[in-house]
């Protein structure tokens, strides 16, 4: 079974861009247009990685994160945040909620991939005992 990546962003363009970026990965891709939908998909699919937008209607990124923290199955899922503004306040808030890294919009896809690679590499660290 292949791993799952979930993109949660209200911008269809960004979702399409992310989809194109992740296409060569041997992964199942999922999308959501707001935090509520994102939460539903995440609860159902239990993705291995979530790319999450900060500002969304219906339910924003931070609220979705709060809900995820309350779910034992989701609270450890690695999340990379997309944010238009990288103020220290925002960074502190999302870091406290367990976000592994962030990129500012408009984002450089290479930069995003770098962070994806690093975040997921850290996830896999205890691999020697994974026999």
């Amino acid at each position: 079974m292949n791993p799952k990546i979930l993109s949660v962003d209200d911008s269809k363009t960004i979702r399409m861009l992310l989809k194109r970026l992740f296409t060569p990965f041997v992964c199942e891709l999922f999308e959501a247009g707001d935090g509520q939908e994102g939460l539903d998909v995440a609860t159902r699919e239990k993705p291995n990685l979530i790319i999450l937008d900060y500002n969304m209607p219906v339910m924003d990124g931070v609220t979705m994160l709060r809900h995820m923290r309350e779910n034992p199955e989701l609270k450890r899922t690695p999340v990379i945040m997309l944010t238009a503004e990288a103020s220290p306040g925002i960074i502190a808030t999302v870091a406290r909620l367990g976000v592994r890294d962030y990129v500012t919009k408009p984002f450089d896809s290479d930069q995003l991939m770098e962070k994806v690679a690093r975040v997921v590499a850290l996830e896999r660290r205890p691999e020697i005992s994974e026999a």
Binding site: L21, P24, V26, C27, A117, R118
Partner: protein, 387 residues
């Protein structure tokens, strides 16, 4: 003398490095670079080092497809590729275990240390600037391959250990079953728990002896193999009946079968189950006689009373019984009649109204004097319509 066709930094007289050790030469290496020249150069360098299984991928997507297809021991990955660059390949490998497990040495044009750090944080094992120096290439490749070999060996050993563990578990189960075959489980449990001597007094149990008459005569005219087979058939049938009624077989002594009801754990209906089992054993013997064309009969004796029960000795130990009750039960058997179940007054009392009994008379028993005895005719219900 430098090799002008190899893509290696040759700003000094290059001494061709030795080939790698034999065991590493057959390693599966995947070279990933969008530049045909670079790929060719790397492949040539690797061949000079003695590698024989070198594959090439022309971009990130190709690399991923190849990783899905085959198990590689090492990947040399160019970071600067169009469409899907090296970092994305690393990310994809990190995400999907199906692609992982392959050590990656990234080859990059970027000399900056930050780039190297990023790659290693992204999971690469090492970082070489292109074009890689032949000696450095050899050193890094050898290290990565040897580390992988050790990891693989580790995994193998772990798997072997698991298999051995399972075997040990199986053996444990087997000897467990064997022990339970010899001793009642409650007693076996106590022995395993560390009790050295198990001996308990039990106030009321019912002991039965069944002796095959005519067996010795038969043994004179039947060959040993057939004789044992016959006895095995009979006692196995008795074993089945014992299991069915939840009584405890103690032992067989030659052609004599001994069992007890109410042990190792007391039950109020001990006499009833022993009586019922005894009746069934008589029936079983009749059936076997029909099947084998034999005419064996047996005397059965039952007595009820206190016994001491336990396990003694250190070799070939069994669960055994001692006391007057045992002697009287044996006396019931020896003073009984072929085909009949002979029991004492004490057993009769314990049976109450569940069975039909016929008074027999009195039998002299050492220590007890005259004991009133009965023959067991059948179950009470079975005779319901008869009176």
């Amino acid at each position: 003398m430098s090799d002008n066709n190899s893509i290696t930094a040759s700003n000094e007289v290059s001494v061709k490095p030795e080939e790698v050790s034999e065991s590493l030469k057959s390693a599966e290496v995947l070279v990933v670079d969008d530049s045909r020249m670079m790929r060719a150069g790397l492949t040539r360098s690797l061949k000079q080092l003695g590698f024989t299984n070198i594959s090439e991928a022309v971009d990130g997507q190709d690399a991923i497809n190849k990783l899905l297809d085959k198990s590689y021991d090492l990947m040399l990955l160019d970071m600067e590729m169009p469409e899907m660059n090296g970092m994305e390949v690393l990310a994809a490998m990190n995400l999907n275990p199906r692609l992982g497990g392959v050590p990656v040495i990234v080859i990059s044009g970027d000399e900056q240390i930050e780039k190297a750090v990023q790659c290693i944080e992204a999971g690469a094992e090492d970082y070489l600037t292109k074009p890689p120096h032949q000696t450095l290439l050899r050193a890094r490749v050898t290290t990565s391959l040897e580390k992988k070999r050790l990891r693989d060996l580790d995994k193998l050993r772990f798997a072997q250990l698991q298999a051995e563990k399972e075997l040990v578990e199986l053996e444990k189960e087997k000897s467990e079953k064997l022990l339970l075959n010899i001793l009642p489980s409650a007693i076996a449990g106590r022995l395993k728990g560390g009790e050295k001597t198990i001996a308990n007094g039990h106030a009321t149990v019912s002991v039965m002896f069944a002796d095959l008459c005519g067996f010795t005569a038969l043994s004179r005219k039947t060959n040993p193999a057939e004789l044992v087979a016959m006895l095995n058939g009979i006692f196995t049938a008795f074993d089945t009946i014992v299991e069915k009624y939840g009584v405890e077989k103690i032992k067989t002594i030659g052609d004599c079968y001994m069992m007890v009801g109410g042990l190792p754990i007391h039950r109020d209906d001990h006499a009833r189950v022993v009586a019922a089992a005894a009746l069934e054993m008589v029936e079983a013997l009749d059936l076997l006689n029909e099947q084998n064309g034999t005419n064996l009969k047996m005397r059965v004796g039952i007595h009820t009373g206190p016994v001491v029960a336990g396990v003694i000795g250190k070799i070939k130990f069994t669960y055994d019984l001692w006391g007057d009750t045992v002697n009287v039960a044996s006396r019931m058997e020896s003073s009984g009649l072929p085909g009949m179940v002979h029991l004492s007054e004490q057993t009769q009392t314990a049976l109450q109204d569940h069975f039909v009994l016929e008074e027999r008379g009195f039998v002299e028993c050492k220590g007890l004097g005259q004991v009133k005895t009965f023959f067991l005719k059948g179950h009470a219900e079975a005779q319901a319509g008869g009176h």
